[in-house]
Every structure is written in structure tokens, then in C-alpha cells.
């Protein structure tokens, strides 16, 4: 009992802290609205909670910022042009969302002197699942260049522990896009972790480059999953599939297959059943803190480690679960953040003795 309360408490506290902590740090805020900084934001699929968390953090520390926002609208081909424009604008700092945008701005570690990339402006990346695997840095301690950032990856073993605490299942299906490097890496690490934990894993790769034909390919993969019926479907951090999470979720609901997501939005917005995630808003706040260190405190990005959140949120979409007759174990209910619960019957205890 104490343990589960502790978990709930730490999850709650971590959320409060990472969002609310800046409010307590008033000593530097006393500087007041001083210099106006220009931050360029390079996004992939519009503004998310991550950017909102980032902005909110800097606002809470009373940093005066002018944002220049450029959105690739889920088309990676647009990145080179955006980068050229930003390079000319010479902002004080560049914020990138996702692995694709980050690589488009600063390249891999061995492409530093390439003129296509920006190296004289500090870059802060956010929502990058695997900074080392994708070649953005060689170590989490320092990128050894003008770059630092935040990974939102939750260690796979923690995700599997959360799954084990929720349900007894045997087979996990994993769906991922073949052309998204971080999704492939995440799927690989899931397969390895799940095999070690005694699960059987089935891979469901989708070949996708965002054309209309790919949606058909996705639909056929979903149909295949519906037919093969694994005990659970796992969705890694995968931009293309996150965009179509509603379609996947609907397919799973139809076949009564519970689903687990490595990121937050598919659970909150698209009806995925559960997931142990780094809330985007917290990741954004952490990235905002790094921006503050660079802009206001004058730190060098290579001196700021790349970091992950150390507290995660376990989200359970009760409405989705009930719809498919998936009933999480009672202990999971005590530490999960339960969303979409039908609360017209208030839980009230009437024990007399």
C-alpha cells in the first residue's frame, strides 16, 4: 500500500516540480524583462505540449523571448529550406522537435563541418527518442558541440515492468515505420527487453514515406494485426504512426486488442489503452531549463548534459480499456493516472465496521 502511494506521490510531485519549480526560483527572475532573445523553433507536426512546456518555463523565469516558429507539417523534405532560412535569420538559439528536425539542423556528429548545417548557434533538441543511436551525440554527458537537449525515452525495462503490473500477457506485437530510424531503434530495444522478460514479440513493420499509398500499407498491417491477434500492441515513438494513431487505435478496439504507447498523445487523444511516458510538457520544461542555462547563465551547450526525465507518468485510458473488456490489475489502478474514467458513479466506501 505504502509503495503504491509512494509511486503516485512521486509521479504527482515530479509533475508539479518540473512544471512548478521555476515559480519558486525567483532570485534570477528579479532581473526583470531585460534583453529580448530570439528563439527559432523548428517543428515537425505543429506545436505540441512539448513547446508549450518550453515556453511556459521561460515565461515563468521572466525571460523575454521572441519566437520564430517554422513547421515542416510532417514533410521532412521541407527541412533543408527551413534550415537555410533560419541560418540567415541568425537567432540566439534554435529549438528542434524530434530526431528529423534535429539532424536537419545540426547533422550527425561526423558532419559538423558541413555547410548545410548550423554550428554557430546553440541548438536544443527535444523529443528525440535515442540521441546516441540516431547519431546526434556520442555521449549523454556532452555532445562536444554547440548542441544539447532532452530525450523523452522511458527505459524499456520500466515500460515492461509497468505492463507486468497491469496485465498477464504473453505476446506483444510491435508496429513501427521502417523509414523512421528512431522507431526502428525503439522497436529493436523493445524486442530485446521483452524477450529477456519472457514475452514473445511479433514485429509489424510499415513501409512509409507519408504518401497516400503508405496509408494503405498501414491499413493492411493493421488488418494483419487484427487477424493475428497478439495479446497487446506496442507503439514506439514513431512520428508517422503517432499521426495515424487514431486509425491504429480504432483497429485495435475493433479486434479487442489492448494497446500500449511509448508516447503520451496516442493515449490521451487517440484511445490507446496505456503507457509509461515522459509527459511532453515536462520534457519541454526541462528543455526550457537548458535554454535558460545557455541564454541567461551563459553556459556552453557542450557543458550541459543531454538528459532524460527521471520520473514518468503511467497513464491508463479507462474508457478504452473498458470498451474492449481489458481490466487492469488492481495494483496498477493505485499508481496510474487514470483518464477518461466514467465517474458518474462516485466511488464511495460505506464500510461500517
Amino acid at each position: 500500500m505504502n509503495l503504491t502511494w509512494l509511486i503516485r506521490l512521486t509521479v504527482a510531485i515530479s509533475m508539479v516540480l518540473s512544471i512548478g519549480a521555476p515559480a519558486f526560483a525567483s532570485e534570477t527572475a528579479a532581473q526583470g524583462p531585460g534583453k529580448k532573445y530570439r528563439i527559432a523553433m523548428i517543428l515537425y507536426r505543429g506545436e505540441t505540449d512539448a513547446e508549450r512546456g518550453f515556453k511556459k518555463y521561460l515565461q515563468s523565469r521572466q525571460v523575454n523571448v521572441e519566437y520564430i516558429v517554422r513547421d515542416a507539417s510532417e514533410d521532412p523534405k521541407r527541412f533543408p529550406e527551413i534550415v537555410r532560412e533560419i541560418k540567415a535569420l541568425r537567432p540566439d538559439l534554435i529549438y528542434t522537435f524530434g530526431t528529423g528536425a534535429t539532424l536537419a539542423v545540426c547533422g550527425k556528429t561526423d558532419q559538423q563541418n558541413d555547410a548545410r548545417f548550423i554550428s554557430d548557434t546553440p541548438v536544443i533538441f527535444n523529443i528525440v527518442a535515442d540521441p546516441i543511436g540516431s547519431g546526434i551525440t556520442k555521449s549523454m554527458q556532452s555532445t562536444e558541440r554547440n548542441v544539447t537537449g532532452v530525450t523523452h525515452l522511458v527505459p524499456i525495462d520500466s515500460q515492461l515492468s509497468a505492463l507486468k503490473a497491469t496485465a498477464n500477457i504473453k505476446t506483444i506485437g510491435v508496429i513501427y515505420s521502417l523509414n523512421e530510424k528512431n522507431a526502428v531503434l525503439s522497436a529493436d530495444s523493445l524486442v530485446e527487453g521483452a524477450n529477456n522478460a519472457g514475452y514473445r514479440v511479433i514485429r509489424y513493420p510499415v513501409s512509409a514515406d507519408n504518401s497516400a499509398g503508405d496509408l494503405a500499407s498501414l491499413k493492411s498491417v493493421v488488418a494483419k494485426i487484427q487477424a493475428e491477434k497478439p495479446d497487446l500492441l506496442y507503439l514506439p515513438s514513431d512520428s508517422f504512426l503517432i499521426r495515424h494513431a487514431g486509425l491504429i487505435s480504432e483497429g485495435m478496439q475493433h479486434a479487442r486488442i489492448p494497446s500500449m504507447s511509448a508516447t503520451e498523445a496516442p493515449i490521451r487523444k487517440d484511445g490507446f489503452t496505456m503507457g509509461l511516458v515522459s509527459p511532453y510538457v515536462n520534457a519541454g520544461a526541462l528543455a526550457g531549463h537548458k535554454a535558460y542555462q545557455i541564454l541567461v547563465e551563459g553556459k556552453d551547450p557542450s557543458d550541459i548534459p543531454v538528459s532524460a526525465l527521471d520520473k514518468f507518468a503511467y497513464i491508463l485510458n479507462m474508457k478504452s480499456a473498458l470498451k474492449i473488456g481489458f481490466y487492469p490489475k488492481i495494483r496498477a489502478l493505485t499508481f496510474a493516472e487514470i483518464i477518461n474514467a466514467d465517474t458518474h458513479k462516485p466511488a464511495k466506501s460505506g464500510m461500517t465496521k
Partner: protein, 626 residues
């Protein structure tokens, strides 16, 4: 002495009466409050379980579909010793915590039912299986703790009173008497050294003034030096008791303490690792005795004791801050050196301050004090370990060791000891080639020590903790050994003199010892272990003193030629090999056969040693030798 005895008895009566009264009050209060407290706790547990179920229902999960109840119940049962099981009855189906049915068949198990109320209706039933005798068990535990504390406080009070009365009254009266006796018998004038301002001091001053007058009148010289010259053996009892007490505080849980630093990555068995610090301690202790003895002879008992107890304290403080097995071994070695120095110094003190007429009594006092300190420390350490963490107990031990150093600094007079002859290799060789010496040492003395360290110090705490008993139970059970040694030793000493030869006693003790160790193998329970330890104490009380007597009696020519001290010294040295081997051998047995069978094998080892000795005795009898 009569005054001593009366005072001691009076103090006993007062102390025993008051502590019994206080304990009775405490016990009564506890017994009255525990039952409702236990009820409240089980109600609270049921309430929590109910609210979690109600919450799941509130989310819309059907009652029959609430999953993972076993996984939810089991940790609750594990964490609460008075809860045997939890059951949820929902309609016709039910979910139980692990082994609910087995637990329900326990005679003391009581089932308590609580309704699960949702939306104003009782939808299910929670049953808690509660240990109906838990309150009695807890009360009994408290009663035993209280009794242990009373026994130990009586022992401590005894040691203190012996010292205080000795130091303040009887020693001074003896000095006055010695002075008067010297004058009356031999017409010699010796002044009494006493500058206290109390009544005895007044009497002393009056007497001394009279002596001066007589000296002046009769023209007799005043002799220098005090009348007796010797310090009473009782003076060293209290600090020695305190030091043994402090070192023994950890005895009942030491192997469990060591277990924390074990890692399976090392590729050696846990038992070996847990036994290692005990073996190393015994080894370093054994080494420090001869070296420490020589050193103590040269620097004097006072300085040697203070140094030894300070070293013990330092070792204990460092032990409290142990991080790895390696530093634990180093800290324990420091403690062992200090402990060894004190041990041999106290023996030296007894030899220095006794003569042929009372040396045996002095040594008996030494042994009795050792066991009194050891059993008190073990028992109190066990009780403490249930309430405070083990490192804190080591710190407490260190404070007590410092106390004993301070005490000696304050009350024991300095001065060098007598230089004893060093052991030479040739002498050791000569003694060890003696057939009877070798047989008794190898087949009785060493096996006894193997049983002491391997069985009692090493295996007993582990076995007790494997039975889920509290550490205070462990302390009490191990204490039985010392209790039997103290109670039986003097009795057996009187009786043993009636035997022409000590061999039957040695053989009987050996057999009894082997039997004692076999008991936990046949009866692997707390009661079995208690009987076993008590019997081992009895066996050792019978056999161990007889070993040395037998050796000195059968080798009178050797003893006369080399000196009794030499032979005894070599015997003690040899015997300690058993101390070192004990944990190693038993650890090996556990890793090979498991703990229960290991007792069988150790019993076999001790038994066959005794049998070998018996066969040798029988054969040499036929040949007309001893």
C-alpha cells in the same frame, strides 16, 4: 567476606524485587493494550482493501473482472505477521492470498469478515485470517525480554557490587587487618595506605598515628610498602566484564550483519563468506594472545588493558561504518587484536595478583566473568537488534569498550607484570610429541572449539534467523550456553575431583557434545536448537576443564621440567586452531549439504573424534599406559 556476601544479597533482593515489580507493571499494561491495537490494525487493513475494490468498481470494472487480487493480497500478508491470509468472496467465486486454506487450518487462525459496500449495497465480503494467538505471542516475547533484562541486570549489579564493596570496604579492611596482623604476629610496623576522609579513613589515620607513636617509643623502623602488596583479582572483573559484554553485543546477529555484504558475483558460497569474518577474528585473536601476552608483561597490565580496549573500541567504531566485506575483515581484525590483548592481560593480572593458594580460584573468577559478560552481552544485543540498527549497536559496543578503558585508567594501579618465559619452538615440539597431550588436544579440545565457533557463534544466529525468529530470541537462545557453563562449572568441578581419572568426563562430554549438535538435524526448530545449545553448554562444562587437568596430571614430569605455564600455554595455542576452523568447516558443510544436514555432519565429526580418543584410551589401557 561475610560483609561482602550480605551486601551482595541485600542489593540482589532490592534490585530483583524492584525490577520484578516494574516488569510486572509494564507487562500488564502491554498485555491490556496489545489486543485492541491488533484489532484496530486488522480493521484498517480490511478497510484499505475494501476502498481499493470500491475504487475499481467506481471506474466501471465489474466485480468479477477485478484482476491481480492475489498479487495485491500477498505483499500485505507478508508485511503483517499477524495476518495469515486475505480472501475476497464475490458471489460464488472467491480469490485467496497464497496458501489461504493451509493457513486457515492452523488452530490459532481466526477468520474476521468485513463487507464491501458499493452504492449502498453489500456486494462482496473480505475475510482476514488473523493469528488469534498473536497478542499472546507478543506478550510472551515481551515477558522473555523482561526476564532476560532482569537476569542480565542482576549479573551486572553483582559485578558492580563486587567491585564497589571490594574497592571501598573489604580491600581497605583487609589492609588494616594485614597491618595489625603484621604488628601482632611479627611486631613489624607497616603503615596503611588510605587517605580517604570517610570513617575507615579516620580509623586508618588513628591506627597510623598509633604506629608512629609505637615506632618512636620502641625505636622500631616503619617498613615501606603497603601491607598486602597485591591488588584483589576482583578489581579487574568489572572492566573485563564490560569489555566482554561490549564485544558480545553483536554475537547473536553477527553472521546476519556479514550477510549484507555478500555478493553472489564472487563465485563463492554465502556460507563461506559469512563464516570468514568469524574465522579471521578467531585467527587474529589467537595470534594476538602470545604476542600481546609478552607485550603486556613488559608494559604492565594497566597500559596493556587500556591500549587493548581502546583498540577494540576503534575496531568496533569502524565496523559500524563498514561498506564492503574487505573493510569488515580489516576492522574485525583490529577488534580481534584489541580483544586478544585485553584477554591475555586480564589473565596476566590474575596471575600477578594471586599465589599458589588462590590462583585456581582467580582463574575460575576469570572464566566466570568471561561467560557472564558474554551471555549478558549476547542477550542484550539480541533485544537491542530488534529495535535499533546493527551499526548503532557496534557504536554502543565501542562506547562500552571506552568505558572499560576509562575504568582501568581510574582504578587499576600501574606497574610491570612478571616476565614469563617465552614459548620456544623446541618446547612446542617436545610437548606436541607427547602422545596423551596430542590425543586429547586433537580429539577433544579442538573439536570442542570447532563446536563452539562453528556451531554456536556461526550457525546458531543463521539458523535462528532462517526460522523467522526475532533477534532477541536469538540472543536468549545463544545465551543458554553461557548460562549452563556458569551454573554447572563449579558444580562439576567439585564432583570431578572424585574421579580418579578425568578421561571418562572428557569422553562423556565429547559424546554429549556430538549428541547436542545432532539435535537440530533431527528437530529443526527453535526448541530443538534450545535443547541442543543447553546440552552443548553442559557437555563443555563437563569436558573442557577436564582436558587441561588430564594433561597436567598425566604429564607431571613434563610439566615439572618445562613449567606448568609452558604446557598450558601450548595447549591453549593448539586449542585455538579449533576456534579458527569452526566457521570454515561448518560453512563448508552448509554449502555441501544444507544447514539441517550440516548439523548431522558436524555431530559425526565431533562424535568420531571422541570415538577415536576412546579407542586410543581403551588400547593404551590394555597396554598398561594411562
Amino acid at each position: 567476606m561475610r560483609l561482602n556476601l550480605r551486601l551482595v544479597l541485600l542489593v540482589f533482593a532490592v534490585l530483583l524485587g524492584s525490577s520484578l515489580f516494574m516488569s510486572a507493571l509494564t507487562y500488564q499494561q502491554f498485555a491490556e493494550s496489545i489486543e485492541p491495537a491488533i484489532n484496530k490494525k486488522s480493521d484498517a487493513i480490511a478497510k484499505t482493501v475494501e476502498s481499493e475494490i470500491v475504487r475499481a468498481l467506481g471506474y466501471g470494472i465489474p466485480l468479477d473482472a477485478i484482476n491481480g487480487l492475489e498479487e495485491y493480497f500477498d505483499p500485505i500478508v507478508d508485511a503483517n505477521p499477524e495476518i495469515y491470509g486475505i480472501r475476497l468472496q464475490r458471489g460464488k467465486s472467491r480469490v485467496d492470498s497464497a496458501e489461504f486454506e493451509e493457513a486457515a487450518n492452523q488452530p490459532e487462525a481466526i477468520q474476521k469478515s468485513y463487507p464491501v459496500v458499493y452504492d449502498g449495497k453489500t456486494v462482496a465480503q473480505i475475510s482476514l485470517l488473523v493469528d488469534g494467538e498473536y497478542a499472546q505471542k507478543k506478550s510472551l516475547e515481551l515477558l522473555l525480554d523482561l526476564l532476560t533484562v532482569i537476569v542480565v541486570s542482576v549479573i551486572i549489579a553483582f559485578e558492580l557490587v563486587v567491585f564497589i564493596v571490594g574497592f571501598n570496604i573489604s580491600y581497605r579492611i583487609q589492609q588494616i587487618m594485614a597491618s595489625i596482623k603484621a604488628f601482632v604476629d611479627q611486631q613489624r610496623i607497616r603503615l596503611i595506605q588510605d587517605s580517604s576522609k570517610d570513617e575507615l579513613g579516620f580509623l586508618t589515620r588513628q591506627l597510623n598515628r598509633r604506629m608512629h607513636e609505637i615506632s618512636a617509643r620502641g625505636n622500631k623502623p616503619i617498613e615501606s610498602g603497603s601491607a598486602t602488596g597485591l591488588q584483589p583479582v576482583n578489581f579487574i572483573r568489572w572492566p573485563f566484564f564490560l569489555l566482554v559484554f561490549s564485544e558480545s553485543l553483536s554475537l547473536s546477529f553477527f553472521p546476519i550483519f556479514v550477510g549484507q555484504f555478500y555478493s553472489p558475483d564472487w563465485g563463492v558460497s554465502r556460507e563461506f563468506v559469512v563464516g570468514l569474518p568469524i574465522s579471521i577474528f578467531m585467527f587474529i585473536w589467537a595470534l594476538s594472545l602470545p604476542v600481546g601476552g609478552v607485550w603486556s608483561d613488559t608494559v604492565g597490565r594497566r597500559r596493556a588493558f587500556i591500549f587493548g580496549s581502546l583498540l577494540t573500541a576503534i575496531g568496533l567504531i569502524l565496523t559500524a561504518f563498514t561498506y564492503t566485506l574487505i573493510d569488515l575483515l580489516v576492522w574485525r581484525s583490529i577488534t580481534a587484536i584489541g580483544y586478544g590483548i585485553v584477554f591475555i592481560t586480564v589473565q596476566g593480572f590474575v596471575t600477578d595478583n594471586t599465589d599458589q593458594s588462590n590462583r585456581n580460584r582467580g582463574m575460575a573468577t576469570f572464566v566466570a566473568t568471561f561467560f557472564a559478560g558474554s551471555l549478558s552481552g549476547t542477550a542484550i544485543g539480541g533485544i537491542l537488534a530488534d529495535h535499533i540498527s546493527m551499526p548503532i549497536i557496534f557504536l554502543l559496543s565501542a562506547i562500552l569498550s571506552l568505558g572499560s578503558a576509562l575504568f582501568v585508567a581510574r582504578f587499576i594501579a600501574g606497574g610491570g607484570g612478571n616476565i614469563r618465559p617465552k614459548l620456544s619452538l623446541a618446547t612446542i615440539k617436545e610437548v606436541c610429541t607427547d602422545r596423551s597431550f596430542l590425543m586429547v588436544t586433537l580429539f577433544s579440545a579442538i573439536p570442542s572449539k570447532i563446536a563452539l565457533t562453528g556451531f554456536l557463534y556461526f550457525s546458531a544466529p543463521l539458523f535462528i534467523s532462517s526460522l523467522d525468529a526475532t533477534k532477541s530470541t536469538g540472543g536468549r537462545v545463544i545465551m543458554l550456553y553461557g548460562l549452563f557453563i556458569i551454573c554447572l562449572s563449579s558444580l562439576i568441578a567439585q564432583y570431578a575431583d572424585r574421579f580418579k581419572s578425568r578421561l571418562p568426563l572428557i569422553l562423556f562430554g565429547g559424546t554429549l557434545g556430538a549428541l547436542a549438535i545432532a539435535i537440530p538435524a533431527a528437530m529443526p526448530s527453535l526448541v530443538g536448537l534450545m535443547i541442543s545449545i543447553a546440552l552443548l553448554g553442559m557437555a563443555h562444562a563437563i569436558a573442557v576443564p577436564s582436558q587441561l587437568t588430564f594433561i597436567t596430571e598425566t604429564n607431571q614430569t613434563l610439566c615439572a621440567r618445562l613449567g606448568l605455564g609452558q604446557v598450558v600455554g601450548i595447549f591453549r595455542l593448539m586449542e585455538r586452531v579449533g576456534n579458527i576452523l569452526g566457521p570454515i568447516i561448518f560453512g563448508l558443510f552448509i554449502s555441501l549439504f544444507g544447514i539441517t544436514q550440516a548439523y548431522g555432519w558436524l555431530s559425526f565429526l565431533v562424535g568420531s573424534a571422541t570415538l577415536t580418543l576412546a579407542v586410543w584410551v581403551f588400547k593404551s589401557r590394555r597396554r598398561g599406559q594411562p
